[in-house]
């Protein structure tokens, strides 16, 4: 599929997932969202790599791991434009984009200081209201928030 591209970071991976085009400043947030520190797979993390699109980008290669939709959609909270390359036998067999999930549970903090979730030991929960604008609504206090303004837990 991508045979004409120079054998860049992807080439070394036999099977697994390459998460590309992560804005450099969001790299470690993505690392944390995907629970990478808990993984036992072979993981390569590239930071401040040169990118024509982004200037500096981050990249994560995870060997022998396919992420579920739920897992990859979490990334959209911090980096809506990342691309996932699914690698099989050294080749990109699929490219996947991330989408804001319909429900965001216990990943982000509600921005309303008077929201019960900021005052009780409990999970947060947002519903997607407008995918295009990136509007989420707190399940509890019903305040709307844009995904760009959201703070991760």
């Amino acid at each position: 599929m991508n045979d004409n591209k120079p054998a860049l970071q992807v080439s070394a991976l036999c099977n697994g997932t390459v998460i590309d085009h992560i804005p450099a400043d969001k790299l470690f947030a993505v690392v944390s969202l995907l629970d990478i520190p808990q993984m036992e797979s072979n993981v390569t993390i590239g930071y401040n790599l040169d990118s024509k699109k982004l200037g500096k980008k981050g990249l994560i290669k995870v060997a022998d791991k396919l992420f579920s939709d739920e897992e990859i959609n979490r990334i959209s909270l911090v980096a809506p434009n990342v691309v996932l390359n699914i690698i099989h036998d050294y080749k990109v067999v699929e490219k996947r984009e991330v989408h804001l999930p319909n429900e965001v549970r216990n990943l982000a903090k509600c921005g309303n200081p008077k929201c019960i979730t900021n005052n009780e030991p409990m999970a947060t929960h947002f519903h997607l209201v407008d995918a295009q604008k990136g509007t989420l609504k707190c399940h509890y206090c019903e305040k709307e928030v844009n995904v760009n303004d959201i703070e991760l837990l």
């Binding site: 008077k114 409990m122 707190c138 019903e142």
Partner: protein, 304 residues
């Protein structure tokens, strides 16, 4: 764990709202019915609200239920650092239903998710207060004979006023036309204007409050302009008397006009309006009793 709670007016369908109003009408005919004898209702007011608490507790008493609870968080274990979850679960061991008021937004939703018994939200911060909205709807229907196709004028603090926002949401089922009358600093937030556009609800906006503006009104819904909402107190001094309804302003109003106000009133309705038959705010508060009797029976699954 999920029980049949009433947390937000936005959860109620058109049919559900109409059914509840119909039940409330029956309670107006006869508010004293001994149908909840043996039931215990927990009345948990983590934040004081005498008006709402008395209305709910009267509703419970007139239905024959007994009431336990507290009227101020200072007298509850919340001051000892107990979480809301623990308080709710503890009280649900004793009560068949919990009516709760809390200063934090979303508190009632959370309680409804963890409580084995149903919850009625009696106000969660600036978020929801569904029994207030239901009594507003009841008052509109009772005085106009219908909820459909009415011109509703909302006056005063439209920015922070929880009651006007909830009323706007609830009325989306009934083809209203809204008129927003508010000072610049307290105008209707874009979120709600957008809501009107999305739901094809026509609305007008003005900062002027005079006889001409209210001439087309079926319902004039007054709210309090609160001093603490203003960053510029000069601005407050300027506007506070502009949004004041006097009896003289009602000379050319429609014969079916009724004036509503969630109360407490301060200066926004002159006392000379009280004797005008179009003043309805005290009866409106009384309607809260019938509506709350209907809500209590509904969550307990009792048909009237």
């Amino acid at each position: 764990m999920k029980s049949k709670s009433i947390v937000s007016i936005n959860d109620l369908s058109r049919e559900k709202i109409l059914a509840l109003l119909e039940t409330a009408e029956k309670f107006e005919e006869n508010p004293n019915r001994d149908i909840l004898s043996g039931k215990v209702i927990g009345s948990l007011f983590f934040e004081p609200s005498t008006r709402t608490r008395l209305s709910f507790e009267t509703a419970a008493n007139r239905l024959g239920a007994r009431v336990i609870g507290f009227s101020d968080a200072a007298t509850s274990s919340a001051t000892k650092g107990e979480t809301l979850k623990d308080t709710i679960i503890m009280v649900s061991n004793y009560a068949d239903l919990i009516v709760m008021r809390h200063r934090l937004e979303g508190a009632a939703r959370y309680a409804s998710e963890i409580s084995p018994c149903p919850i009625i939200n009696a106000g969660d911060g600036a978020n929801q207060h569904p029994s207030q909205t239901m009594l507003d709807l009841y008052s509109i229907k009772k005085t106009q004979g219908t909820l459909e196709n009415l011109h509703i004028h909302l006056v005063g603090d439209l920015k922070y006023g929880r009651t006007v926002h909830s009323l706007l949401h609830a009325m989306r089922h009934f083809n209203p036309t809204f008129h927003f009358i508010a000072p610049e600093e307290l105008h209707m937030p874009e979120e709600y204007r957008m809501f009107c556009r999305q739901n094809n609800i026509p609305f007008t906006e003005t900062t002027e409050f005079n006889e001409d503006v209210i001439a087309s009104a079926d319902i004039l819904y007054m709210t309090r302009v609160q001093r603490e909402r203003f960053s510029d107190l000069m601005e407050y001094e300027k506007v506070k008397n502009c949004y004041r309804l006097t009896n003289a302003m009602l000379a050319d109003s429609k014969p079916n006009l009724k004036i509503l106000h969630p109360l407490p009133r301060v200066t926004e309705i002159a006392y000379d309006v009280d004797d005008n038959p179009k003043a309805y705010y005290f009866q409106q508060a009384q309607n809260g009793l019938y509506v709350r009797e209907a809500l209590i029976c509904d969550v307990l699954g009792i048909n009237i």
